[in-house]
Amino acid sequence: MSHDIGVWISAILTLFVFSFLYKDTLFYRLAEHIFVGVSAAWLFATSIHAQLIEDMLMKAFPHAFHQSSPPEYIVLGGGIIGLAILSRLIPGFISLSRWGVAFLVGFQTGIQLFDAISANILLQLGSTIVPLFNRPLGELIKNWLSTIGTTSSLAYFYFSKEHKGALGVVTRIGIWFLMISFGAAYGSTVMTRMSILITRIHFLLSTWLGVVHG
């Protein structure tokens, strides 16, 4: 059995969380509140250090932090934009926050537009245009499935015409493809959750109790 206080705290909190499987207990609530509190504190502390200190103050005033690099006062602009967003909290200055939000939205849109179209639309579109004849059988099956699956699934989300007749047949095929993909996603989710559960149980048996080695 472990003599590490950290391991004991971790093991007890794990058991507290597992107690929810029996019913909503006080122990579960306690663990939940500790988790939320610690997460928020960690996020706050690391964000302050990484963004406010490292990204702004250390770059703008490097000598104050014993750095030899030249000062970059331009980073203070980011601080001003951040303060502008926070001005929403002060009545009478709400309009200032729009400037900060506008800058953020404009920056993100500009930086993402080109790359997102290239990586997520054009290249992906290209991979659905595949040869459907004169290929080895295995490749043909894969290509036909890919083409039928893509077009029928897209047809399902075409709502300008009632899903009847030929369109109805195609959308029904689309539903099958969608259901299979949802099934695969569900199976993957189960595997993910099981992996997490196994790791916690392994921790309890190995690191905490020492029943299992390795």
Binding site: L21, Y22, S39, W42, L43, T46, S47, A50, Q51, E54, D55, M58, K59, Q67, S68, S69, F107, Q108, I111, Q112, F114, D115, A116, S118, A119, N120, L123, Q124, G126, S127, S181, A184, A185, S188, T189, V190, M191, T192, M194, S195, I196, L197, I198, T199, R200, I201, H202, L205, S206, V211, V212, G214
Partner: protein, 277 residues
């Protein structure tokens, strides 16, 4: 009887699953690990590294997903270092900071690798919800994004970073990713714009979303979930947490399948029973 089973207390399922996993952990059975082509491609990409090549490694995950992808992270790091590559580590997730340190303690130190000479830890870099500013910044000037390492060494004083100016100076980017910012952002910014090859380890649940990128070679290789980690451990002949989790995972999945079959059987038998006059 059927009615009783229809109101079966689900807590029995939890208990059975718990006992099944405990049993499989305490009495493990060695399973053969067939290698997926995507995992093989990850291995081949890292295996092609030459001594002195630079590798960028992003640890973008937290405690809720570490169980699945941390084994793959350790295996890939071990492989890259054993090839003599210099690994530059960072994260866009503040929760991942302890995992980088754990990787250093479990892989870099036992291999006798020296900090700032064989590997560099830049720690957490805040990039907002998309990480776009950080990745784009690395594309033009790595030093501007990471002026100092996690241990406070200035960029110019790090021997491992000599000759490294931006993303184009890296042979490969290893993305251990559990969400946003993560692999999608590296594909969108680092690969689409700077053409850096990417290999990745992702959670099993997000893997289907990433497969189209693998088909288009926007991601060279992919390790999905704990099984992907086990496969990579098999390839480098260094069994770890991934391999150890394989048998309990198989038992747990089998139990889930049996429960699904059992549940459906009870449901349909109940329906047949209710139709009888």
């Amino acid at each position: 009887m059927i009615e009783k089973l229809q109101h079966f207390d689900r807590r029995w399922i939890f208990l059975i699953l718990f006992l099944a996993i405990c049993g499989s952990i305490m009495h493990p059975v060695s399973l053969s690990v067939p290698i997926e082509p995507y995992v093989q491609r990850s291995y081949d990409t890292i295996n092609a590294l030459k001594p002195g090549d630079h590798v960028l490694m992003a640890f973008d995950y937290g405690p809720s997903t570490a169980a699945e992808i941390h084994p793959a992270a350790l295996a890939m790091l071990r492989h890259a270092l054993s090839r003599g590559a210099k690994v530059i580590m960072f994260t866009l997730w503040n929760e991942a900071v302890p995992y980088i340190q754990e990787a250093i303690n479990e892989v870099c130190v036992p291999l006798g690798k020296k900090t700032n000479v064989d590997y560099v830890n830049f720690g957490f870099k805040s990039g907002g919800t998309t990480g776009a500013s950080v990745i784009e910044g690395m594309g033009s000037n790595l030093k501007a994004v990471f002026p100092i390492t996690d241990d406070g060494t200035p960029y110019d004083g790090v021997p491992a970073l000599q000759g490294v100016e931006n993303l184009k100076d890296f042979k490969v980017l290893i993305s251990i990713s559990a969400g946003t910012p993560g692999i999608d952002e590296y594909v969108r910014y680092a690969n689409a714009r700077y053409k850096i090859p990417i290999v990745a380890a992702v959670t099993r649940v997000s893997a289907p979303k990433e497969f189209p990128y693998v088909t288009e070679r926007q991601i060279y290789g992919l390790c999905a979930g704990l099984v992907g980690g086990a496969e990579y451990e098999e390839l480098i002949k260094y069994p770890g947490a991934g391999t150890a989790g394989l048998f309990p995972l198989s038992v747990a999945n089998l139990a889930i399948i049996l429960f699904i079959v059992f549940g459906n059987l009870i449901y349909f038998l109940g329906r047949i029973g209710s139709r009888k006059p």
